[in-house]
């Protein structure tokens, strides 16, 4: 085995690819080869670092120096100065037309700070997801090996999950052990476990980066799930748009199979488990578990009426566990280190960590993993670097498009399921969209409602008609034809949708609508009294929604 004096980590994901990471990597490898350094320096392609909007990133170990915004033409200088002479390059200035970009070290403590607690993302930025040996050397598949070699009873695994207090990270926060236990206790000739990787929530891309950075972790968790519940078959349902994730997870499945970690007689035991990828085809509603199951069966993705819950009757009416990517990614460590260990992080009722995506008007957008219960203020200021350009904070849309607009009064709210619920908000998918004083909250709500009107599957009337009716009112307000009553109507429509819609798509619109209107009423330009013009516009809207 070669001993390398230096490792260069280069994160490759959709975002860095569009910044040209593949060209930079090729150039670096060529440069190292030309200078006879290939046997001394190893270049490793990894998953994300969690740093967004900073172009191509390179990390040099053992020096722990981060370079960002690296261009192909910076490579000779970095190789010459840093790698050969050991002098850290502080900045490279060069002209891109009129702009001057600097390539420099990331200041310590910002964004990718060491205070993050990484359980889910622990390997994402340090191992090559294509290299199974590297994954195993860094702790991959050790939980699986533990349960198989020590003959763990399924009850034992459920007990650990129960102690850990792990709750679903897809948004609802349902205790994971209850799902697993339910399916385990079902009598059936066939059971299934499904990983929900149909990540369509606007502003959320955590699952994609987990999949791309550490696909083996997910596979390991699904095998453990299969072992616990007695399921011999698993499916990973991935969004059709996520091309890179699909190819990485397929490679990981093939590698695991070739090495006896997946398939028949895993690690020489009697236990067998098969895993298959299913591609989505562009439908937001398929993130809902029963719609996902319908789609997986080859149907239109219309949600089912619950109960029965998938735990008892899911895929082809067989008991089925459906878990989010992030939820599953927590499980190998819980099994290996024990539920008590996991409970040591986060709050009493919400243990563990949460992966957040920080977006919008912040200095350092990106992906972070911190303990449950970290305050919104800390996340925005310490990890996101504060509001961009020193502007004033106006609002944060927390939990994805179907989330809640939080005002500055709630900046100190703790980010966990319970604390947010107390403040009539949701943790949702963990997306935090920060808006500065110049941002238009009305426009954001407008595009959110437009999105929902488009994505409503049309199966149940409250959602199908409600979304279009809300859209009609928003259009009227945009054209200056809105009244105060319209705002009250919007709340009342979304309340009806909450009470009567079949699935969370229609039920959740109350969150953004109510929080925007109640906390930021001044953002809606409406008049107090009705004029003839208003009445005309209202009649027209009703006609458009086929309500007359």
């Amino acid at each position: 085995m070669n001993i390398f004096r230096m490792h260069i980590l280069i994160p490759v994901d959709e975002e860095t690819i569009q910044s040209g990471v593949l060209h930079v990597k090729r150039k670096l490898e060529l440069e190292l080869y030309n200078r006879n350094l290939s046997s001394e320096i190893k270049v490793i392609e990894t998953g994300t670092m969690g740093i967004s909007g900073s172009g191509v990133i390179m990390v040099l170990y053992p020096d722990q120096v981060y370079y960002y915004d690296v261009k192909e033409k910076d490579i000779p200088l970095i190789v010459e100065e840093h790698i050969i002479k050991g002098r850290i390059v502080d900045s490279i200035k060069h002209d891109h037309g009129e702009k001057s970009r600097a390539c420099q070290r990331i200041p310590e403590g910002v964004c990718f700070s060491r205070t993050q607690k990484r359980i889910v993302l622990d390997k994402c930025h340090i191992v090559n997801p294509y290299d199974l040996e590297e994954v195993i050397a860094n702790g991959g598949y050790r939980a699986l090996e533990k349960i198989l070699s020590e003959n763990f009873k399924p009850e034992h695994i459920i007990e650990e999950l129960k102690i850990s207090g792990l709750r679903g990270r897809g948004g609802a926060g349902f205790p994971t052990w209850i799902k697993w236990n339910g399916t385990k206790n079902c009598e059936s000739d066939q059971k299934y476990i499904i990983c929900n990787a149909d990540e369509g929530e606007p502003g959320t891309y955590k699952d994609r980066l987990i999949l791309e950075g550490d696909p083996h972790k997910l596979i390991e968790a699904m095998i453990i799930g299969g072992y616990t519940a007695g399921a011999s078959k698993g499916y990973i349902y991935i969004r059709g748009e996520y091309g890179l994730s699909i190819s990485r997870i397929q490679k990981a499945i093939d590698d695991a199979k070739a090495n006896g970690l997946l398939g028949r007689n895993i690690l020489g035991t009697d236990f067998s488990f098969e895993l298959e990828i299913k591609r989505g085809a562009g439908a937001y509603v398929c993130g809902e578990e029963t719609a996902l199951i319908e789609s997986l069966e080859g149907n239109r993705g219309n949600p089912r009426v619950k109960p029965p819950y998938p735990v008892f009757s899911g895929l082809w009416s067989k008991p089925t566990i459906v878990n989010n990517v992030e939820t599953l990614a927590n499980i190998p460590d819980i099994i290996y280190r024990g539920g008590e260990w996991f409970k040591g992080f986060g709050t009493d009722k919400c243990s563990g960590t949460k992966v957040f995506t920080i977006l919008g008007n912040v200095e350092y957008p990106g992906l972070i993993e911190v303990e449950m219960g970290t305050t919104l203020r800390e996340i925005i200021n310490s990890y996101g670097g504060g509001v961009k350009g020193g502007k004033r904070f106006k609002a944060a849309l927390v939990g994805g498009a179907a989330g809640v607009f939080l005002s500055d009064k709630l900046l100190d709210v703790r980010m966990d399921f319970e604390s947010l619920k107390e403040n009539a908000a949701v943790l949702g998918s963990g997306a935090i969209l920060v808006m500065d004083e110049d941002a238009s909250l009305f426009d954001i709500l407008y595009s959110t409602l437009e999105f929902f009107a488009h994505e409503s599957c049309g199966q149940c009337s409250p959602c199908r008609i409600g979304t279009h009716h809300l859209m009609g009112i928003m259009k009227a307000i945009k054209n200056g034809e809105g009244t105060v009553k319209d705002l009250d109507d919007m709340i009342s429509i979304s309340e009806t949708m909450f009470n009567t819609s079949l699935c969370p798509l229609g039920q959740s619109l109350i969150m953004p609508v109510k929080s925007a209107i109640e906390n930021f009423r001044e953002e809606f330009r409406v008049s107090e009294t009705k004029t003839t013009k208003h009445r005309k516009s209202e009649t027209q809207r009703r006609k458009q929604c086929h309500l007359m």
């Binding site: 748009e241 085809a281 439908a283 789609s295």
Partner: protein, 152 residues
Amino acid sequence: MSKLQILKKYAKTKDNLINMLHDIQNANEFNYLTKDDLELVADYLDLPYSYVHSVTTFYTMFSLKPRGKNIVRVCQSPPCQLMGATTISEELKKILEIDFGQTTGDGLFTLEMTSCIGVCGVAPAMMINEDVYGNLNTERIMEIIEERRRAQ
């Protein structure tokens, strides 16, 4: 690979329907599914044509109309809106001289909207076929479109 060969990669079970439609559409020069395609799949899986049609039209990634060689999908989700996606959409319409859902006369580009493509860190963003482009502004769009035109 012929269409039948594509289908034969999969077992004759309904759960493979969406994967089959993906593969057949990807093999089509104009990125769409013809009536014959749907009939072929329906026959292969022994499903009614109407059933396959209803599944195809449910999902936005499938098209029953011929599309350009390059499908430009502009992200319309709130994070991109906040960073200026509306301007980007208008610019693209102007440069390509088409509206959303239309294809340019030379058959090179089709303009579509998409929900979040998960690169919000570099919003506003768009996809052209499988490639993602972020940090968009007018000059960058011009460059990208020009590059694609030259590549043909």
